[in-house]
Amino acid sequence: MFRDNDKILALLIGLVVIRGLLYIAIVPPWLAPDEPAHFEAIRLIGQEGLQPTEAVYLTTPMHPDMHASFQAFQIWQLSRLAPPQDPLDPSRPVSDRFINYYPPTSTGSLIIAGNYPLVYHRLMAPLSALMKNLPLISQVYILRLASLLFTTLTVSLGWFLTRTIFPTRIVHAVGMTTFLVFLPMHLHVDTAINSDVLVVLWVSLYFFGLAKIFCDGLSIIRLLVTALALGLAIMTKPTALFIMPTTLVALIVYLARRFYWKPLWLAGSLVMIASATFIGSILLFQLGEGGRAISTLELTLDQPAPVGNYFSPTAMAVYLHTIRWGFLSFWGLFGWANIPVLTTGLRAVWLICIIIGLGMLLFIGQHLLQFGRRPRTLTSNQQDILLVLLFSLIFALISVYTPIIATQSVRWGPPSRYFFPALLPFSLYFFLGYQQLIPARFYQLTLPIWLTAFFLYDAYALGFVLIPYIYG
């Protein structure tokens, strides 16, 4: 007979596959964030044997069926944009060059070699080459299925990460993995053709490697896997850069435990790293091209861009706007960021998240830092890895929001998918915070309530927002 562990893991993997297929099926081709741009870059590498440079975009026609498929799925109409079609013959595009067709109308960006790391696109290119003779739409769906495979691996890593940290408490693994399986935006973004899905997988592998090192001991294999995941993640997308300071924190925490540092020394070191990361990240965006320069290893320093007062009312308005937008896009802003799930209930979700955030603080204070609690509820290994994960969350927030502070511009968004590489630590802490709020008397209901809430929220997103918007 299967144990609970295997049974639940099998069901969760089954659920992520089924739900992934649902999202792939419901969201029409091209309607996921930047999906046309990523597809075209993969196609150029895989099927045309060309590097996606600006010159290539200017001289190479896009796939001949692209405009027809945009029209068939009413993508421009769904995106509330004027179709870039020939005024005399709507069945023809305004231009057969992708660079003149998609970015000018959608404000979507192109994937250009040199400006953008191409790990994901090169990895997908052989698959694209294999399907060259298939219809365009079939190619899109096969690439999306590859994304679903990556997402399933991410969810599995999330399970094993939590089982490594809490080997005797299956409840945490179920709670954390459920979050990954049911968060609508996670399924929407990470089952599409997008480099986000691969970077989330690499970062998840990195966190799993760290957890293994901290909880089960250091070994060459674990170190190599973690280092490899770190390198691949950074090369895949700049949104993974937050794991660089996370690695430094992991090293400091490991050394502090090994050499019995005083808590004050450790705390001081961590605060210094966090401060340096914050200031360094702002400078990176003021003096250069931001994290993209590090990922592509093409770092050039410019004159600092002039910015106004960081605390002026205008700057505050920009920060508030981006926080609000980031929150909305985390809980549901589908399509080309134009299909919001929460038009009326946003305040209720804010309230719930703030309460769970208080629960997270409670967990950190009581269990991680052990304020006023004897005996200890966590082992040293658990404390260490949870501390590292907590700092990774702080660094992820820094990396997402410092571009906005540095430039005082909303052009960086930030869409929540930039935060998705930190989804594993976030979902674990979110569940731990939620769990703190359940009275001990009703503790047995922790998971059923959690599961039901996510199921209902996702059903609402699919049944009352996405499907009526796209197919209504």
Partner: protein
């Protein structure tokens, strides 16, 4: 789980199941709507004055078409003037499915103006036409209607007939300035001006069964196997509910241990 809880749960499942069965066979499904009014599309305002009229052909996708929203702009107001809306099976037929009159004074600039009528239960896949005119015993009175300059709605097109009454001045489409700057990609040409569409939204309130059938057909349209089969969506949904139910059952019985 105690016996009482089990019976309560069973009763709840029966109640929900019974309601769903009733809803599926006898209920109606509102909430589906199609938006063809987009600020970036609706850049022209066509004047409805004198005997000027504008019509738009369209195809309803779902059963139960019961409301159409149009968007107006006040031009020359009059206390007694009104907008007349006719819904027909085609723009050339004499027979009218619905006629609705709305006073100028109830119309708000650039806000959806609803024209509601009894649901047309077999509207799915049918072509219709609505014709809008202005009526005023005391001219001059004029109301503008938002439209596009280009063909943005592929399943039908609009037709504008200018006011030919003696006192009228020839009106040409005027720009709604707030939205004009959002159309950098559209090149005007003589043919493009002829093919245009009114900004409109359609609302449905049809029988559940036929609405779901239409939805499944739309979900599957243009997609490759197996995503192009309606049965795939039903099968996947059923599988999803079964696996979720199994997970819920296992998790409910899980011994979660002491609280951390």
């Amino acid at each position: 789980m105690s016996r009482t809880t089990r019976y309560l749960l069973l009763g709840l499942i029966l109640l929900v199941g019974g309601y769903l069965a009733y809803w599926l066979y006898a209920g109606r499904l509102a909430g589906f709507s199609q938006t063809y009014y987009l600020p970036r599309y609706s850049t022209a305002v066509y004047a409805l004055d004198g005997n000027a009229q504008i019509s738009q052909e369209f195809e309803a996708d779902y059963p139960g078409l019961h409301r159409i929203d149009l968007f107006f702009q006040h031009q020359v107001d009059s206390e007694t003037a009104s907008i007349i809306f006719h819904l027909k099976n085609s723009c050339t037929t004499e027979d009218t499915l619905a006629t609705i009159e709305v006073d100028y004074k109830t119309i708000v600039n650039n806000q959806p103006q609803s024209f509601s009528f009894p649901p047309l239960d077999n509207s799915a896949g049918h072509r219709y036409c609505f014709i809008v005119t202005s009526q005023s015993p005391q001219p001059p009175a004029s109301m503008g209607i938002y439209s596009s300059y280009v063909d943005v709605y592929p399943a039908g097109q609009a037709d504008y007939q200018v006011n030919t009454s003696a006192a009228a001045e020839t009106e040409t489409p005027t720009l709604a300035r707030p939205y004009h700057i959002w159309l950098p990609m559209i090149q005007r040409s003589s043919k493009a001006v002829e093919t245009f569409d009114i900004g409109f939204n359609l609302y449905y309130d049809g029988p559940v069964e036929t609405t779901l059938q239409t939805l499944l057909a739309k979900l599957a349209a243009h997609k490759p196997f197996p995503f192009g089969r309606a049965g795939f969506y039903i099968g996947l949904t059923v599988l999803y509910l079964i696996v979720f139910g199994l997970l819920f059952r296992v998790v409910s019985r899980l011994n979660q241990g002491p609280k951390l």
